[in-house]
Amino acid sequence: MRETNMKKILISLLFILFGTSVYADCNIKSGSINILANDFPALRTFVETAKGCKGSADFKVTHSSEHNKIAVPALTANPSEFSARIAANSSIVPLMNQDLIRPLDDLVKKYGKGIQDSQLITIDGKIMAVAFMANTQHLYYREDVLKELGIAVPKTYEEVVAASEKIRASGKMQYPYAAAYKAGWNLAEEFVNMYIGHGGEFFKTGTAQPSINNAKGVATLNMLKKLAGLSNPDYLTHDSEAIKVEWESGNVALMTLWASRSGTLLDDDGDAKITAATKLTGPATVAGGNIPAATLWWDGFTLAKNRSDADAEATFRALAHAAANKKMVADAADQAVWLIEGFKPGPKSIGVIEAVKMKAKPYPMLPQMGLMHGALGSEIVEFLQGKESAEQALKDVEAAYMSKAKEQGFL
C-alpha cells in the first residue's frame, strides 16, 4: 500500500515539474502574469490552459475561496498584485465601482482571435470582461417518482408545489422538495430568483431607492414559504452541498439547484437507481409569468488597471488563449457550461440552455445590488420561521439596505 502511494506522489511531483511543457506556446516574450480566481475545478482547468501559453512570461495564480475579499485591496494597490481577476457578474461590480479594471477593446482587437462576440461583456460601449462559462439554477426531478404518481414534469412553481404535495400525500417522501435556503447568500439568491420570476424590480428606476415592499415582494415571500414547508425542516441550514446529498440519499423528488452541480448527480458514484432517474429541466416560472424564476450567471476574466500595459498584454494573450480554446472545451465538457466556440452541450447543460431559451435574466449587475442581497439574506429569515409578517420582513430588508447604502454613499 505504502509503495503505491509513494509512486503516486512521485508521479504527481514529476507532473508538477515537467507536466506543463506539453502545452503549446503562444510566443509571449515578456511580462508577468498573476491571476486571482475562485477555487473550483473548471477555473483550475481554465487557468491551467492559459498557463500553457505563457511562453517566457512569469506566471502565477492564486485560487482562493477568499478571492472576493482580496480582490479590491489587491487591485487598488499600485502596481496591483494581480494582473487579472476572474470574476462573475456579481463580483465584477465592486471592481467597476472602484474603477479598478481596464477596458479590453484594443487587446481584443489585437489578440482576441477566436473569442466570440457573445463572450464579450460591454459596458457603456467598452469591453470590460471576457466571459467563458455560464451557470444558473434550475429544476431537477426524479422521473420514476413523478411517473409512478402520474405527475407531469412541473413547469411553474405552482406546479412544483402541487406535485410536492401529491408526493407527500402518497407517503413516498416526507419532504419532497429541496432548494438551497441556507440563511445568508443562498436564501437571498432564492429570493432574487423568485422575485425576478414575479417580474419585480429591486430599485426605483434609475435610483438606488429600494422598492421591494410591494405585492410582488409579498407574493415572492409567500411562495418561498410554501416551498420551505415542503422541504426538510432544517432548510435554513441547507446549502447546495446539503441538498445535493439529500437528493443522492433519495429523500427528495424535486429540487432547484445550480447547473454546475449536476456533474456528480449524474456520475457513476452513488445509488445507480437514483442516478438513472435523475432528470434535468429548465427553471420554473411563477405566478403566470414568462420569465423563469432564475438568474443567469457568467464567469469571465478582467484585467487590472493599475498594472503595466506590457503585463496586461501578456496576461490577456494567455487568458484569451484559454477563452477560445476548443480543445479545452472538448476535454472538460463535463466541468462547466462553456460559452466558448466548439462546446457541445451534453445532458448536464440542459438547465442552462433551457434557461437561456426561456430568456432568463442575468443576475442584476447594479453597483448597489450586493448590499440588497446581503440585507435579504438575514432579514427574511424570521418571516420563514413564522415570527413576522411578509410586510414586516420586507420593511426590515429595506431598512437594513438603506443603512448600508447610506454608508456606501448610494443614498
Partner: protein, 352 residues
C-alpha cells in the same frame, strides 16, 4: 529568602524597556496602529456615488444598467481619500445601535413586551443577546470543567497521562472549521448523534437544526466542549507548579481533599485562574466560528458574525460598518472584563 533590597525589587525603567521593546513594537505596529486606523475609519462613510445609466451587454443579451460615474467620483475621492466624515452616524444607524428606531418603537408600541420584541428584531441587539447568552453559559462551565479535568488527570498514573492529555485537548487542536463540519453532519437528523438522540427522546421529528432554541443549545454545548481543553491545559500546567511541602503538611494535618484544593491549590494557581477567566470571556464574546460551522446564521448571530458578514459575505465590503461593530466589540469586552481587571489592579497594588 535572603534580605530584600528595595533597590532590586524595582526593575529599572531602562531594563524594562529593553526587555519589552520587541514584543511592544510588534503589538503597536500590527495591532495598535490598525485599531487606531479602524477607529478613525468608523467615523467615515463613502462619498456620494454619482451613477449613470449605460447600455450593458453580456452573453445573455443587452440591457440598460447603472454604473458609478468614475469621472465625477474620482475627483471627490482624490481630494478626500478617507471618505465623507460621518461622526457617529454609522454607530447609531439602524444596523448598529439604532438610536432613532428605538426611540420610534418606544413611542409607537403599546406594551413593554412589544417594545422589546421590536428592539430584538434589530440586527445589533439580536446579535448582542446571543453573544451575551453564549458568554454567560459557556465561560463558567469551561472554567469548571477544565479545572475538574485537570485535577482528575493530575491524579492519574504518569505513564498513561500522555495519551489522555492528547485525547483531552483534541477538541481544541482540530481546526474548528472542520471540527464543526464533521459535527454538523453528526448532529443531522440522519447523522449518528442526531438519529440516536431521536431514538433516545422518542421523537422521530426531533432536529437540532430546525429550531432556534435547539440551535442555541447545540452551539453552547459545542462551545463548552471546544473551549474546556484550553482551561484544562493552563490549569494542568499550573498544577505542576504547586509546591509539594504545604500539600504534604496539610495531609498530615488531616485536611480533606476538598480543603486542600480550596486552601492550597486554588490560592497558588489563582493568577492563572484569572487569566483563564479573562481569555475565555473574551473569546466567548467574539464567538463566530461555530455559527459558520453549524450553518446557524438563521437562528444565531453574534457581534463577530456581523463583522464577518460586513467584510466577507457582501460583494461590496462595508468597512465602515465593520469598523464600528469592531470598536463596539472592544468596548463591550472592556465592560465585561472590568470586574476582573479591577481585581487585577488591586492585586497589582498590593504586590508591590
Amino acid at each position: 529568602m535572603g534580605i530584600k533590597s528595595p533597590l532590586i525589587t524595582l526593575m529599572p525603567n531602562k531594563t524594562f524597556f529593553w526587555f519589552f521593546l520587541p514584543t511592544g513594537l510588534a503589538m503597536i505596529l500590527f495591532i495598535g496602529l490598525p485599531i487606531i486606523s479602524t477607529g478613525i475609519q468608523s467615523f467615515y462613510a463613502q462619498h456620494d456615488q454619482v451613477v449613470k445609466e449605460v447600455k450593458k451587454c453580456d452573453p445573455f443579451g443587452c440591457t440598460v444598467s447603472i454604473v458609478v460615474d468614475q469621472e465625477k467620483t474620482s475627483k471627490i475621492r482624490e481630494e478626500k481619500p478617507l471618505g465623507k466624515f460621518n461622526g457617529f452616524g454609522t454607530y447609531v444607524d439602524r444596523n448598529h445601535l439604532a438610536i432613532e428606531e428605538i426611540g420610534k418603537f418606544w413611542n409607537e408600541t403599546n406594551s413593554f413586551g412589544e417594545f422589546v420584541d421590536q428592539v430584538t428584531n434589530l440586527p445589533f441587539y439580536k446579535a448582542l443577546i446571543f453573544t451575551l447568552t453564549y458568554c454567560l453559559f459557556v465561560t463558567p462551565n469551561v472554567l469548571l470543567l477544565g479545572f475538574i479535568i485537570a485535577l482528575s488527570l493530575n491524579a492519574v498514573t504518569r505513564r498513561i497521562r500522555g495519551p489522555l492529555i492528547f485525547g483531552t485537548i483534541l477538541p481544541m487542536i482540530v481546526t474548528p472549521l472542520v471540527g464543526s463540519l464533521v459535527l454538523f453532519w453528526m448532529i443531522d437528523a440522519e447523522g449518528i448523534i442526531g438519529a440516536n438522540l431521536q431514538m433516545l427522546m422518542d421523537d422521530p421529528y426531533l432536529s437540532l437544526k430546525s429550531s432556534k432554541t435547539l440551535t442555541w443549545i447545540t452551539i453552547i454545548i459545542y462551545g463548552i466542549w471546544h473551549h474546556s481543553p484550553f482551561a484544562f491545559v493552563v490549569f494542568y500546567a499550573a498544577l505542576q507548579t504547586v509546591p509539594q511541602e504545604p500539600v504534604e503538611a496539610a495531609i498530615i494535618d488531616g485536611a480533606s481533599r476538598w480543603q486542600r484544593v480550596r486552601h492550597i491549590v486554588l490560592p497558588h494557581i489563582y493568577p492563572v485562574v484569572t487569566f483563564v477567566a479573562l481569555i475565555s470571556l473574551m473569546d466567548n464574546f467574539r464567538v463566530f466560528e461555530p455559527i459558520i460551522g453549524f450553518s446557524a446564521e438563521g437562528s444565531a448571530q453574534s457581534l463577530s458574525w456581523l463583522i464577518y458578514d460586513n467584510l466577507v459575505n457582501e460583494e461590496v465590503i462595508l468597512f465602515g460598518s465593520a469598523a464600528a461593530t469592531s470598536m463596539m466589540t472592544i468596548i463591550g469586552i472592556a465592560i465585561l472584563l472590568a470586574p476582573v481587571l479591577i481585581r487585577t489592579w488591586k492585586e497589582f497594588r498590593t504586590a508591590r
